[in-house]
């Protein structure tokens, strides 16, 4: 491997990692955009999502890497798992919003944010106490397709991560910009009171936002599992924190910002680890964050929506 090959390989690694962060970052940024709440429960909705995906795949008859599918059955199984995981994770997000957060709407201060931390710990401990602390062999039906051997290697699993992430982001973008509900979300983000006066059902908008954000976290959980063939009760923390950083880096509340922010964090992680030492990863990521915020306090892309002045 020449040095150039290594850099290209690390870009492939970084973009794949970044795609997972982007999907997660979208959930943070959408909720913040609508109700200015940092939703820490999101960390572990992602983790629960990866377990939901694992159980769906196992229910479809997959076990570890023993069953390999190709062609239509492969696409079918992955589509069922993706849709099922997103629906159930989205429902979990709605449940959290209805039971723990809606009663706190309008309460000033940090009560709602602290509640999300509490919900996050509840999810974490439920999984720990019921499923256990073991590492799990996440089922993966994808054949081992590799392009290149000695130099740069591109694998099917990386292509899958990119394709799924791009499709979901395009759909989300379309939904927010061109549907009635999407426009209602934009209106609510700009000014909740005015939107309410114009007949927007704010509660419903908030619920849809939680559903979409959590469904994307579930999708991230599925592709995380397929990418690493692994899941565990503790995966939410590191990935969640990096994704949150990505959302802030891109400008929290800004949807394209979250997408780009995720990929940037992924690239910083892989290229920073390559050029310096891997044990310094967190130092590098958070230094970049601090530098960006010092010079551009609203993040790289800022908030598109106008906040109350």
């Amino acid at each position: 491997m020449t040095f150039q090959d290594v850099l290209i390989q690390q870009v492939i690694n970084g973009v794949s990692l970044g795609a997972i962060y982007s999907l997660l970052a979208l959930g943070f940024t959408m909720v913040y955009g609508i109700i200015e709440l940092i939703n820490f429960a999101h960390f572990n909705v992602f983790m629960v999502g990866s377990f939901i995906a694992m159980y769906i795949l196992e229910a479809l008859g997959l076990n570890g890497q023993n069953v390999i599918l190709t062609g239509f059955p492969l696409v079918g199984v992955l589509a069922v798992a993706l849709v099922g995981t997103m629906l159930l994770s989205g429902a979990l997000g709605v449940l959290i919003e209805r039971t723990a957060l809606r009663p706190l709407r309008g309460v000033p201060g940090t009560a709602a944010m602290i509640t999300t931390i509490g919900v996050s710990y509840i999810l974490f401990n439920i999984v720990l106490l019921t499923i256990g602390a073991d590492a799990f062999n996440f089922p993966n039906p994808m054949p081992k397709v590799r392009w290149g051997e000695a130099g740069v290697v591109l694998q099917l699993r990386e292509v899958l991560v990119w394709v799924v992430a791009i499709i979901l982001m395009v759909c989300l973008n379309f939904f927010v910009r061109h549907t009635k509900m999407g426009k209602a979300m934009q209106a609510t983000a700009q000014d909740q009171e005015a939107a309410r006066m114009m007949g927007v059902e704010v509660d419903r908008v908030v619920m849809i936002t939680f559903f979409l954000g959590s469904a994307l976290a579930g999708a991230a959980g599925l592709i995380f599992g397929l990418y690493y063939n692994y899941t565990n009760f503790a995966i939410g923390y590191t990935a969640g924190l990096r994704a949150f950083t990505a959302a802030v880096l891109g400008g929290i509340g800004n949807i394209p910002g979250a997408m780009v922010g995720g990929v940037i964090i992924g690239l910083i992680e892989s290229l920073g680890g390559q050029l310096l030492e891997v044990r310094w990863t967190d130092v590098i990521i958070f230094s970049v964050l601090v530098l960006v915020l010092v010079f551009r306090p609203t993040g790289l892309f800022g908030r598109i929506t106008v906040t109350k002045s």
């Binding site: 062999n137 995380f224 390559q274 030492e277």
Partner: protein
């Protein structure tokens, strides 16, 4: 706040427990009744993550004690057991605080003359100072961290001076370096990249390995740390792949190890991957799975006895009695109990009182024929034979995928000195 309060609560509870135990112990005068008996303590993480291995170890020790009792006891003494669990539900595995409590229970009971355990070095570090103060010997069949018996740390782990932490396995001071010798001589490794999991065991064994690798002329291309909380190691592994080492040595336990083995199979399937007894466990079979786990090298800090023709009668007795296959740490536990039984016998026959002081002194001078060969200890409590066994995962579809006895194949001894 809450964590401080919880700790205070725990400390109070612990304190109450100890004073109760002392009160109970104080009331007992060693009874010289018609049937004389002494107690051997057993401390292991019998629930939680390591329960499977710990139970095999427990059976090994129990078997030696049961067999001695079946022969009519030892020099007129019947042997009782006090089996304590050092795992807690909140830790999910061994808990040093519980291990310390158990050590106090052993020390405060005058019938306990010696103990077998613990399995984990973290528990051993917590127990050792308490046992030292009580001058009660314990023989570990599995914990390999060298610090506990290292004279450099005597002030910390045996403040009273005498060795009380004995081992029927060798330590990571040999487990890492011997594997470096094996990999150079037998696997023809010329260059290696070293990783550890930033834990005490992992850093210790990786550093010992690195020192020896450099000494015998293996090119060490780098030494980096994996964060067990991190999910993605592809950056590290891509970097390592670009350096093209013959082998990667991983010092650490399953937390980071499972992800390391899985992901390195994707990034560099042909590179040799090896580790210590931290990569010897069911997680590497169940959570890593095949084919990713195939070919992984692991070591044990003891001779491989369960397939030794001379031990087959014993293996048969064990598996018939307990309905599980023994592993090598079941053998070292059996050996540890044999050493204690021999010490009790020598003390009794010499006419001295059979108590923990005299039994400790007798263990120190032991020369006992056991399943693994003759066991004797140096002045720090470490076993004089320093055998490290090498295993490799080779999938055998005849057995269940997570059957550690059959999926890890024994392939030889890692030599203490290199070939040239």
């Amino acid at each position: 706040m809450t964590s401080i309060r919880r700790r205070m609560l725990l400390a109070t509870a612990l304190g109450a427990g100890i004073s109760l135990a002392i009160a109970a112990g104080g009331g007992l005068v060693p009874a010289q009744a018609a049937e004389k008996s002494v107690t051997i303590g057993i401390d292991l993480p019998l629930t939680g993550a390591d329960a499977e291995g710990a139970t095999r170890i427990k059976y090994g020790a129990e078997m030696a004690i049961d067999e001695a009792n079946a022969k009519g006891g030892v020099a007129g003494y019947k042997l009782d057991m006090m089996t304590l669990n050092d795992a807690t539900a909140s830790a999910g595995q061994y808990d040093p605080a519980q291990a310390a409590t158990n050590a106090k229970k052993f020390v405060s009971d005058p019938h306990v003359v010696a103990a077998v355990g613990p399995e984990m070095s973290g528990a051993g570090k917590a127990m050792s100072p308490i046992l030292s103060a009580g001058n009660l010997a314990i023989i570990t069949p599995a914990s390999t961290n060298p610090d506990i018996t290292d004279p450099k740390f005597a002030g910390q782990y045996r403040p009273a001076g005498k060795a009380i932490y004995f081992r029927t396995v060798t330590t990571d001071a040999f487990q890492g370096p011997n594997m470096a010798n094996y990999m150079r001589d037998t696997l023809k490794m010329k260059s290696v990249y070293i990783l550890d999991d930033s834990g005490a065991y992992g850093v210790g064994i990786a550093n010992a390995y690195e020192g020896q690798a450099k000494k015998i002329g293996v090119k060490v291309l780098g030494h980096d740390q994996l964060n067990p909380k991190e999910a993605d190691y592809t950056t590290s592994l891509t970097k390592i792949k670009a350096l093209n080492p013959d082998a990667v040595y991983y010092g650490g336990v399953a937390g980071a190890g499972v992800k390391f083995v899985k992901q390195s199979y994707d990034v560099m399937p042909k590179t040799i991957k090896a580790g210590g007894d931290g990569v010897f466990g069911p997680e590497y079979l169940s959570a890593v799975g095949f084919p990713a786990a195939e070919g992984l090298y692991a070591t044990n800090a003891s001779p491989h006895v369960t397939e030794d023709p001379a031990a087959q009668a014993w293996v048969k007795r064990y598996s018939e009695k307990y309905k599980v296959q023994p592993d090598d740490y079941a053998i070292t536990a059996y050996d540890a109990a044999l050493v204690i039984i021999d010490a009790i016998k020598r003390v009794a026959e010499s006419g001295k009182p059979v108590n923990h002081d005299n039994v400790r002194d007798a263990i120190q001078t032991a020369k006992v024929k056991t399943l693994q060969g003759e066991v004797s200890f140096d002045e720090n409590g470490d076993i004089n034979s320093r055998v490290v066994s090498v295993f490799q995962i080779k999938h055998d579809p005849k057995y269940k995928d997570d059957d550690i006895i059959h999926q890890y194949k024994y392939i030889g001894v890692a030599p203490q000195s290199p070939a040239s």
